[in-house]
Amino acid sequence: MGWVEGRFEENFITTTLEQAINWARESSMWPMTFGLACCAIEMMATGASRYDMDRFGAGAFRATPRQADLMIVAGTVNYKMASRVRRLYNQMPDPKFVIAMGACTCGGGPYYKYGYNVVKGVDLVVPVDVYVPGCPPRPEALLEGLMRIQDKVKGMRYLTKNQPIEVPIPARTGYVQLPPELDDPNPLKAMEKQLAFAKKTKEEAAPSKA
C-alpha cells in the first residue's frame, strides 16, 4: 500500500477506490432468477439450504433483470426463447455478467444433433463470461463458476486511465446480427468500425466536465 500504511490509528484501512468498489461488487453479486430447464433445479439447490450460495454474497435472487448483476442461463435456450434471453440481457444494468450453466448453454449439449429448435450455445445470443459444463453441473461447479466471476470483477480496472476500451459487442459476434454500419466483410475493418463506435458511445456517455 506504500507510505500511508500504518500511519493511521487502528481500525483504519487504506485501499484504492477501485479495489473498494470491486470488493463491494464481487461480494454482492446478485443473480437473476432465470431458470429455464433442468439446470434451474440445480441452481435452486445451490441457493437452498445445503450449498447456500449466500455465503458468497450471491444469494439474493432477483426476479427482475433491472436489479441483477449476474445472469445464470440455467438450461436449454431454444429459438423461441433466444430473443427473450437477449432482451433480458439488454435490460440488465452494467456491469453485467453471464454464466452459461450446463452443456446445453455451452454448446447445445445432448440436443446438438437432432435439436432443430435448440440454440447451439447461448454465446450465439449473449456474450458469456464463464462456462460451467455438466449436464447438469453440480452445485459445487456452479459455485466455482461464481468464484471465477468474482475473480473477473476483482480484476476490473475501469477507473484507471488509458485502459483498453471494452468492446461492447461480444468478441464472438459472428452469429448475432450486427447493424450494417458496424458490419464489414473484412473482420479487421469490422473490428475497427466497432471500436470507433464503442469509443464514440463511451465519449457520449461520459459525464460532462462543466
Binding site: 430447464a37 433442468c38 439450504s49 445445503r50 431454444n78 426463447m81 427473450r84 444433433k113 437432432y114 429448435n117
Partner: protein
C-alpha cells in the same frame, strides 16, 4: 368524465362513471412464479381475469424427433430431461413402453428396485413441489426445509447411480445396477427421519392461516371439467370425492405395473376431515394436500419395498432383444404429476430405432385447463392456481 346520476338522493354523493378498459398483461416467460418458462397472457378487467392464454414452447427441445433417431437405450437420458424433477419415473415410463412393445418379462428384483426408486423420486418431486408452491405464495422457509430433505434423497440416488438430477438409472429391462451395499439400511433410516417432518410441514405451511387464505376456495375445478380436459394425477384426484363414490383413480391401483398390486397403500382422495372449513373439493388447497398425503403413502410403499428387496429373486436387469418388434405400444404410468404416457412405434424393418416416440405429457393436459379455472379470478390468484398444477415446463414442451 363524471356524470352525476339523477337517482342519487343525497346531493353530496356523486356517483362517478368509472369505466375501465380491458388490459393485456403478459406474465412470463421469465417470471419467478411460472415455474420455468411458461408465458401467460392475461386479459384483465381491473384485477379480474377474463381470459388466460398460456403460450408454450419456450423449452421445446425436440425430444420426440430425437426419439425416432436413436435407440431406446440412448433415449433414456432424454426422458430424464423431460421431467427433470422426477427423472426416475420418466425412465420407468419409457422403459415400460418399450418393454410392452418387446414383450419383455422383468425379474422380481428389478421390479422391487424400480418401485423403491420411483417412489423415492416421487417424494423428492413432491417436496420440490411443496417448496416451490411456498415460493409462489411468498414464503421462503418451506423451500429451505424441502430442499434439506430432498438433498438427502439425492444423496441416496447418488450412491445408486452417481447422478443428482439426471439419473438414467432405471433402464429398459430393469435397473442399471443393483442397489449398493448398506443402501437399504440408509434408506430406511432416512424414511424414519422424514416421516415426522411431514407434520412439521403441515404446521409450517399447509394449515398456515395465510396459506389457507391464499389457496382455499381458489381455482375450483369440478370433476367433469378435469376429465374433459384430460387432467390426471393429484390434479384430478384433488377434484374427486370419495363420498360420491368416485373410483381410486390411480394407475398404480387400476392398471398395476411393476407389481404395485402387491403393495398396500391408499389412493388419496378427498374429502379430508382435517381440511380447513373454507376449503372446497377441487380447489388449490386440496390439490396441494393430496400431494402432501401422497408423500406419506410413498413412504409406506418404500418401506414395504425395502422388506421385499431382501428376499427378491432374480437379477436386476435382463437383456434387450436384438431389435424392436414391429407394432406399437402405448403405456401410461403414474408419475408425480399425473399419467405419463409413452407411445412407441417399432419399425417393421428389423431395427433398434423406433419409428416414432410420442410422449403424452401429464402436465401438458393439466395445464390446458388453466384458462377454464383462471377465468374470474384475481391476478394475485394466478400464481396460486398455476403453482397448484405443479407444472414442469420440460415435460410440457418436451
Amino acid at each position: 368524465m363524471a356524470t352525476a346520476t339523477e337517482t342519487t338522493q343525497d346531493p353530496t354523493i356523486v356517483e362517478f362513471d368509472v369505466r375501465t378498459d380491458e388490459m393485456l398483461v403478459n406474465m412470463g416467460p421469465q417470471h419467478p412464479s411460472t415455474h420455468g418458462v411458461l408465458r401467460l397472457v392475461l386479459r384483465t378487467d381491473g384485477e379480474i381475469i377474463s381470459e388466460c392464454t398460456p403460450h408454450l414452447g419456450y423449452l421445446h427441445r425436440c425430444a420426440e424427433k430425437i426419439g425416432e433417431n436413436v435407440t431406446p437405450i440412448q433415449f433414456i437420458p432424454y426422458t430424464d430431461r423431460m421431467d427433470y424433477l422426477a427423472g426416475m419415473n420418466m425412465n420407468l415410463a419409457y422403459s415400460l413402453a418399450v418393454e410392452k412393445l418387446c414383450g419383455m418379462k422383468i425379474p422380481e428384483k428389478a421390479q422391487v428396485i424400480r418401485v423403491i426408486i420411483a417412489e423415492m423420486n416421487r417424494i423428492a418431486s413432491h417436496l420440490v413441489g411443496m417448496g416451490a408452491y411456498g415460493l409462489d405464495l411468498g414464503t421462503f422457509s418451506p423451500f429451505l426445509y424441502a430442499f434439506r430433505e430432498r438433498e438427502m434423497i439425492l444423496d441416496l440416488f447418488e450412491e445408486v447411480c452417481g447422478a443428482r438430477l439426471t439419473y438414467s438409472y432405471i433402464t429398459i429391462g430393469g435397473a442399471h445396477d443393483d442397489l449398493p451395499e448398506g443402501w437399504v439400511e440408509r434408506c430406511a433410516k432416512f424414511l424414519d427421519y422424514l416421516e415426522p417432518r411431514i407434520n412439521e410441514y403441515h404446521t409450517l405451511l399447509t394449515f398456515n392461516h395465510i396459506f389457507v387464505k391464499r389457496t382455499a376456495n381458489i381455482g375450483v375445478m369440478s370433476k367433469e371439467l378435469a376429465i374433459s380436459y384430460g387432467c390426471s394425477g393429484p390434479m384430478l384426484r384433488g377434484s374427486l370425492s370419495r363420498t360420491e363414490g368416485d373410483p381410486d383413480w390411480d394407475l398404480r391401483r387400476l392398471e398395476p405395473y411393476c407389481g404395485y398390486e402387491n403393495y398396500e397403500f391408499d389412493v388419496i382422495i378427498p374429502p379430508f376431515p382435517e381440511a380447513p372449513p373454507e376449503a372446497v373439493i377441487g380447489d388449490c388447497w386440496h390439490r396441494f394436500y393430496v400431494r402432501m398425503r401422497e408423500v406419506i403413502e410413498s413412504i409406506k410403499i418404500v418401506r414395504q419395498g425395502l422388506k421385499r428387496y431382501a428376499t427378491a429373486q432374480g437379477s436386476h436387469r435382463v437383456e434387450l432383444p436384438k431389435h424392436l418388434h414391429p407394432g406399437e405400444a402405448y403405456v401410461e404410468s403414474e408419475c408425480p404429476r399425473g399419467q405419463m404416457g409413452f407411445y412407441v412405434v417399432g419399425s417393421p424393418a428389423k431395427s433398434m430405432v423406433p419409428l416414432r416416440v410420442r410422449a403424452r405429457s401429464s402436465s401438458f393436459s393439466n395445464l390446458s385447463v388453466t384458462n377454464a379455472i383462471c377465468r374470474g379470478c384475481l391476478i394475485a390468484d394466478v400464481p396460486a392456481i398455476v403453482g397448484s398444477i405443479d407444472i414442469v415446463m420440460g415435460e410440457i414442451d418436451r
